[in-house]
C-alpha cells in the first residue's frame, strides 16, 4: 500500500471512529467557509462589477455632449480625430413624462440612437429597431416599475410604445438612485439632430489625446463637455466604494479567522491523539507518514464542509449583491465565474486545513515515541507560580481552564475580537450612511434651510427672526481645463464667503479670501495634481476658461471631493450662468415655523436640507440588506468560535470536569463554569474589537473608501455597548449549548480519560 493510500485510509478510519468530533470540526470549517463565501463573492462581484458591465455594454472611451447639432456635421468633425476606433451618435431629450403600470415620472430621458455601436448591454429581450415604436428600458426602471419585455410604456407625446428589451449602461447609476429614468428608441432618420457623441479610442490608455484633439477641433459645437470612462468609473465607484472596501477588509479578516480556528483545532486534535501517534511511531511508521495521516484527516473533514459553506455563503449573498449591482447599473458575475472562484477558494481552504493539521503533527512526530506514549502535551509546561489562591468560584475556574492554553486562548480572543470588530464597523457604517442621508452637517454644511429667492432678497430674509445668515449658493458643472475628462463642481456664494455656510475641514493651506482664490477638495487636488500655490484652470459651461489660485485643500465629501469653493465674481465675468437656491443658516434654537411664515410672506417656502444621499433611501435599504447578510454570518462565526473554544476546552479537560461532577457539580454548576470560560474569552475580545475598529479597520476603510474626506467611521459608545452586550449574550448561549452536551456525557468516561 502506498503512503498516500495508507494515510487516507487511516484518516478515514479515524474519522468514522469519532463521528461526534468530526461533525464538530466540520461545523467549524463550514462556519468559516460560509463567511469566506459571503465575503469573497460579494467583494469580487462589487469590485469587478463596473469593468464587467463596461465590457459587456461596450462603454465608450469618451462621451462628448453638446447642444443639438446636425449629425453629418458632427460626424465629419469626429472622423478626423486621431486615435479614434469608432463613433456613434445619440439625441437625448430630458424631462420627458414616462408612465407605465400605474407608475409615472416627469423626469424621463429618451435617448434616440442611430446605427453603430450602442454603448449599452441588452440584458433581456433585444435591441430596438428603427421606426417600429419599440423601446428599450433601463433595468432600474424595469425593476422599479415591474416592466417586462412585451409590455408597453407611455413616452411623452409619442404615446404608448412596446418594450422589446431591457438595457444596462454603466455610465450612470440606475433609476431610482438616479433621478432620471432612461428609455432608448432607435431612429434611422438622418434629419434627426444629435447632441451626444460616443467615441471609442484605438488605444484607450491615450484617451486624453482623443479628448484634447476633440476639444481643439470642436469649432461650432456649443456647450461641449467630455466625460471619460475613468471619470464615469470614479463617479459610479463612489456609491459602492464604502461597501467594497468594507467587504475586502472583511474578507481578509474572515480568511485569517478561518485559518486561526482551523489551526487551533488541528493542534488540539494532535494533542488528543498523542497516544495513537505514539503507537503508530512505535510500530515503525515514519514521521512523514504520521504527518500525512493528519493532513489527510484535515482534508477529509474539510472537503465537504468547505464546499457546503462556500456554496451557502455565495447563495446567501447573491440576491443582496445583485440588488446593489442593479442599483449601480453593473452586472453580476456569471454562475461559471462564481463557481470557478468558489473552486479556487475551496482548494485553498482544504490546503490550508491540511497544512495546519500537518504542522503540529510534524512537530509531535519528531519526539521520541516513548514521550508520545506517555501522553505528553504538545505544548511545553510553563513554570508554575506559587500561591494561586482560589477566588471567584466556578466561573473563575472556567476562566482559568480556558486560559490554560495560552496560545489557543490568545488566538480565540483574536478571532472573536476580529469578528466583533467587523460587526462594530458595520454598525458604524450603517450609522454613517444614516447621517449622510439625514444630517447635512456630516458634509460640512452649516445651513439648515433652502428657499428659492434671488440674492437681492438676502437682507429681507436675514431680517426674519431666527435667521443668522442667508446667501445664494451657486453651483456650476465644469471640467478641468488641462484634463477635460475630469468633471468637477464649482461652488460659490453670493455673499462671497462660503465658510459661513459650508466649511469642510482644511487639509492644507488656508481659507480663500479674495475673488481670485479657491479652496479645492482633496479629490480634485488628487485628480489634477493641485496644492496650495497651484493654479486651478477650469472650463465651465461658458465661452471662457476661468483660473483661480489654489490657497487651500479641503476634505470635502461631496462629489467625491471634486469640488472647488470660489467667490462668484470671476465666474460671472467668464459668462457662467450662475443659479442656485438661497441657503439659510439658522440661529441655535430658531423657530422654524416662524421662519417658514416669514419666507411665505416673501412668496417663498422653506425646504429642509438633507444629507448627501437624500434621494437614495432605496439604495441605502439595499446596502443595509447586504450589510445584514454580512453581520449575520459574522455573528454566526462569533458563536461558533465561542462554542468550539468551550467544546475544545471541555473535551481537553474532561478529566477536570468529571472530577467536578464526581464532587457533585450538576448542570447549573457546569453552566457557571462554562460561562466563566466564555466570558474570559468574550470580554477581552470586546476590548480587542474596540481597539481594532478604532485604530485599524475604521481608518483603513475610511482611507480606502474616501481618502478625499474625513469619514467619521468611529464606533460610538452605544455601538460599543451593543457589541459587548452581544458578545456576552453569545457567551451565555455558547455556555448553555456546551453545558447541555457536557451534562449528558458519562462521568466515568472523563475519569477514565484523565487516568
Amino acid at each position: 500500500m502506498t503512503g498516500a493510500r495508507f494515510a487516507l485510509r487511516t484518516a478515514w478510519t479515524s474519522l468514522r471512529g469519532r463521528p461526534g468530533r468530526s461533525v464538530l470540526t466540520a461545523t467549524g470549517v463550514l462556519a468559516a467557509a460560509l463567511v469566506l463565501g459571503v465575503a469573497v463573492t460579494v467583494a469580487y462581484a462589487l469590485s469587478t462589477g463596473f469593468d464587467r458591465a463596461a465590457r459587456t455594454a461596450d462603454l465608450p472611451t469618451v462621451v462628448a455632449r453638446f447642444d443639438a447639432e446636425d449629425a453629418a456635421k458632427v460626424d465629419a468633425t469626429v472622423r478626423r480625430l486621431p486615435n479614434l476606433a469608432a463613433a456613434s451618435y445619440r439625441y437625448e431629450q430630458t424631462d420627458v413624462p414616462l408612465s407605465a403600470r400605474g407608475h409615472a415620472t416627469p423626469e424621463g430621458v429618451v435617448e434616440v440612437v442611430r446605427g453603430g455601436r450602442r454603448g449599452y448591454a441588452i440584458v433581456a429581450g433585444r435591441d430596438a429597431r428603427p421606426g417600429l415604436r419599440e423601446a428599450v428600458v433601463e433595468r432600474g426602471l424595469a425593476t422599479e416599475w415591474g416592466l417586462r419585455v412585451g409590455g408597453s410604456i407611455r413616452v411623452g407625446r409619442l404615446g404608448s410604445v412596446r418594450i422589446v428589451g431591457v438595457s444596462v449602461s454603466p455610465d450612470n447609476v440606475a433609476y431610482p438612485l438616479a433621478k432620471a429614468a432612461h428609455v432608448t428608441l432607435a431612429s434611422d432618420d438622418r434629419r434627426f439632430p444629435v447632441d451626444t457623441a460616443l467615441l471609442w479610442a484605438k488605444d484607450p490608455s491615450r484617451s486624453d489625446v482623443l479628448v484634447s484633439a476633440a476639444r481643439q477641433s470642436s469649432y461650432g459645437l456649443r456647450d461641449l463637455r467630455f466625460l471619460t470612462r475613468a471619470g464615469v468609473q470614479a463617479l459610479i465607484g463612489q456609491a459602492a466604494g464604502i461597501v467594497v472596501a468594507l467587504l475586502a477588509s472583511f474578507a481578509a479578516v474572515a480568511a485569517g479567522l478561518s485559518g486561526v480556528l482551523l489551526g487551533a483545532r488541528a493542534q488540539s486534535e494532535v494533542a488528543r491523539t498523542l497516544d495513537e501517534l505514539g503507537v503508530q511511531r512505535a510500530l515503525g511508521l515514519a514521521p512523514g507518514t504520521v504527518v500525512a495521516v493528519h493532513a489527510a484527516h484535515g482534508a477529509l473533514v474539510t472537503a465537504p464542509a468547505a464546499a457546503l459553506g462556500l456554496a451557502a455563503g455565495a447563495l446567501a449573498s447573491r440576491t443582496a449583491t445583485a440588488r446593489v449591482l442593479e442599483s449601480l447599473n453593473e452586472l453580476a458575475p456569471s454562475w461559471g465565474t462564481t463557481a470557478g472562484l468558489l473552486v479556487v477558494l475551496w482548494a485553498a481552504t482544504v490546503a490550508l486545513v491540511a497544512l495546519t493539521s500537518a504542522w503540529p503533527a510534524w512537530w509531535a512526530a519528531r519526539r521520541p515515541p516513548a514521550a508520545l506514549l506517555r501522553g505528553g502535551d504538545v505544548t511545553s509546561a510553563r513554570p508554575a507560580r506559587r500561591g494561586t489562591a482560589f477566588r471567584g468560584g466556578l466561573a473563575a475556574l472556567g476562566a482559568r481552564l480556558v486560559a490554560a492554553r495560552r496560545v489557543r486562548f490568545a488566538s480565540v480572543v483574536a478571532v472573536l475580537g476580529a469578528a466583533a470588530s467587523v460587526v462594530l464597523l458595520l454598525l458604524a457604517l450603517s450609522s454613517l450612511l444614516q447621517r449622510l442621508r439625514d444630517d447635512p452637517a456630516t458634509l460640512g454644511k452649516r445651513y439648515q434651510l433652502t428657499t428659492r429667492l434671488p440674492a437681492s432678497d438676502r437682507a429681507a430674509v436675514e431680517a426674519i427672526p431666527g435667521v443668522r445668515a442667508a446667501a445664494v449658493r451657486y453651483s456650476a458643472d465644469a471640467v478641468g481645463a488641462s484634463a477635460l475628462g475630469t468633471p468637477l463642481k464649482v461652488i460659490a456664494y453670493s455673499s462671497g464667503d462660503h465658510t459661513e455656510f459650508e466649511a469642510p475641514p482644511l487639509a492644507s493651506g488656508r481659507r480663500a479670501r479674495g475673488p481670485g482664490e479657491a479652496e479645492v477638495g482633496q479629490g480634485l487636488a488628487d485628480a489634477l495634481g493641485l496644492r496650495p500655490g497651484s493654479t486651478l484652470a477650469i472650463q465651465p459651461l461658458a465661452p471662457r476658461e476661468v483660473r483661480f489660485r489654489v490657497v487651500g485643500v479641503v476634505r470635502a465629501l461631496q462629489d467625491e471631493g471634486r469640488v472647488a469653493f470660489v467667490a462668484p465674481q470671476r465666474l460671472r465675468a467668464a459668462g457662467v450662468a450662475l443659479d442656485g437656491p438661497m441657503v439659510l443658516r439658522l440661529a441655535p434654537g430658531a423657530d422654524r415655523a416662524r421662519i417658514a411664515r416669514g419666507l411665505a410672506a416673501l412668496g417663498a417656502h422653506a425646504d429642509a436640507v438633507r444629507g448627501a444621499t437624500g434621494d437614495s433611501g432605496a439604495f441605502l435599504d439595499v446596502l443595509a440588506s447586504l450589510l445584514r447578510v454580512v453581520a449575520i454570518s459574522v455573528a454566526l462565526v462569533c458563536l461558533h468560535a465561542l462554542v468550539s473554544a468551550l467544546a475544545l476546552t471541555a473535551r481537553e479537560r474532561r478529566g477536570a470536569v468529571a472530577t467536578l461532577r464526581a464532587a457533585g457539580a450538576d448542570g447549573r454548576a457546569l453552566r457557571r463554569l462554562l460561562r466563566g470560560a466564555a466570558l474570559a474569552v468574550a470580554l477581552p475580545a470586546a476590548l480587542v474589537a474596540v481597539a481594532l475598529e478604532a485604530f485599524l479597520l475604521a481608518p483603513l476603510v475610511a482611507r480606502g473608501t474616501a481618502g478625499y474626506a474625513d469619514l467619521p467611521l468611529g464606533a460610538g459608545p452605544g455601538q460599543i455597548a451593543a457589541v459587548a452586550g452581544g458578545l456576552v449574550v453569545l457567551a451565555w448561549l455558547a455556555a448553555a449549548l456546551t453545558g447541555r452536551r457536557l451534562a449528558r456525557e458519562p462521568v466515568v468516561a472523563g475519569l477514565r480519560e484523565e487516568a
Binding site: F390, L394, A656, A662, A663, G664, D666, P746, V748, A755
Partner: protein, 232 residues
C-alpha cells in the same frame, strides 16, 4: 455498630454486546455501615472500579438497587445524583485528579464552591489541610507535590462536604509504601470517625486495614475470611 450507610442489592452490569458481551456484575450485594472500612479485592478486570462507580452514582446499573444514606441512587435523576454526590459521597481516585491550574488548597475547597454546597465547607477544608499536615504545601500546584501529598489533598477534597460515605479507588495504587501507609492510616481514621469507607484495592497491606474484605468473583461479592491473604 452504627446505621447502614450503603446498601446495594442485585447489581448487574453488562459491558459490550453480542459475542463481546461481558457480565461484569451479576447480582452483587453489599451493605456497609458507618464506621466500617470495607476493602473490595479481585483480579484486574473483575469489575471492582465499575462496582465503585455504580455505588457512587457515577454510572447506572443494568439491574439492581443502591441506596446511600437512605437516598436512592439507582433511578435518580442526574440532578438528584449530583446533589447526592455533593452531600453524601466523597471520592478518592488512584490518579488523584487534582486540577493542575489550582494549588492544593484551592483543589480542596473546590466542592465547597459548588451551587447548593453546605455552609462551612471552606472552614472544614482548611481544618482538613491542617489536620492532614498539608499547610506548608497548600500553596503549591499538583505537579510540585509528591504523590503522597497529592493523595492527601485529594482525601481532604473528598471530606470537605462532610460525606457519610467515602469511596476510594486504588487509593495507594500510585504511591510508594511510606506514602501509602499514611493514606491508609487516614482512611482508617476516617472510618473510625463514623463514616462508611469502601476501598477498592489489590494490595494486601490495604486490605489488611479493613474491617471486612470482599472479593469480587464472577460478578458477585464474596466475603474473605479474616487473616487470609487474597491473591489478586
Amino acid at each position: 455498630m452504627t446505621a447502614v450507610v450503603l446498601e446495594a442489592r442485585g447489581l448487574v452490569k453488562v459491558h459490550g454486546s453480542g459475542r463481546g458481551e461481558r457480565r461484569i456484575l451479576d447480582g452483587a450485594r453489599l451493605t456497609v455501615s458507618g464506621g466500617e472500612l470495607v476493602a473490595i479485592v479481585g483480579r484486574s478486570g473483575s469489575g471492582k472500579s465499575t462496582l465503585l462507580q455504580l455505588l457512587g452514582g457515577l454510572d447506572r446499573p443494568d439491574a439492581g438497587e443502591v441506596t446511600v444514606a437512605g437516598r436512592p441512587v439507582t433511578g435518580a435523576s442526574e440532578r438528584a445524583l449530583s446533589a447526592l454526590r455533593r452531600d453524601e459521597i466523597g471520592f478518592v481516585f488512584q490518579f488523584f485528579h487534582l486540577l493542575p491550574e489550582l494549588d492544593g488548597e484551592a483543589n480542596v475547597l473546590l466542592p465547597a464552591t459548588l451551587p447548593g454546597a453546605a455552609r462551612g465547607g471552606v472552614a472544614r477544608g482548611r481544618a482538613l489541610i491542617e489536620r492532614l499536615g498539608l499547610r506548608d504545601v497548600a500553596g503549591l500546584r499538583p505537579h510540585q507535590l509528591s504523590g503522597g501529598e497529592q493523595q492527601r489533598f485529594a482525601l481532604a477534597r473528598a471530606l470537605v462536604g462532610d460525606p457519610s460515605l467515602v469511596l476510594a479507588d486504588e487509593p495507594i495504587g500510585n504511591l510508594d509504601a511510606a506514602a501509602g501507609d499514611v493514606v491508609l492510616d487516614l482512611l482508617r481514621a476516617i472510618a473510625d470517625e463514623g463514616r462508611a469507607v469502601v476501598m477498592v484495592t489489590h494490595q494486601p497491606e490495604a486490605s489488611a486495614r479493613a474491617d471486612r474484605v470482599l472479593e469480587l468473583r464472577d460478578g458477585q461479592l464474596v466475603e474473605v475470611p479474616e487473616g487470609r491473604l487474597v491473591e489478586t
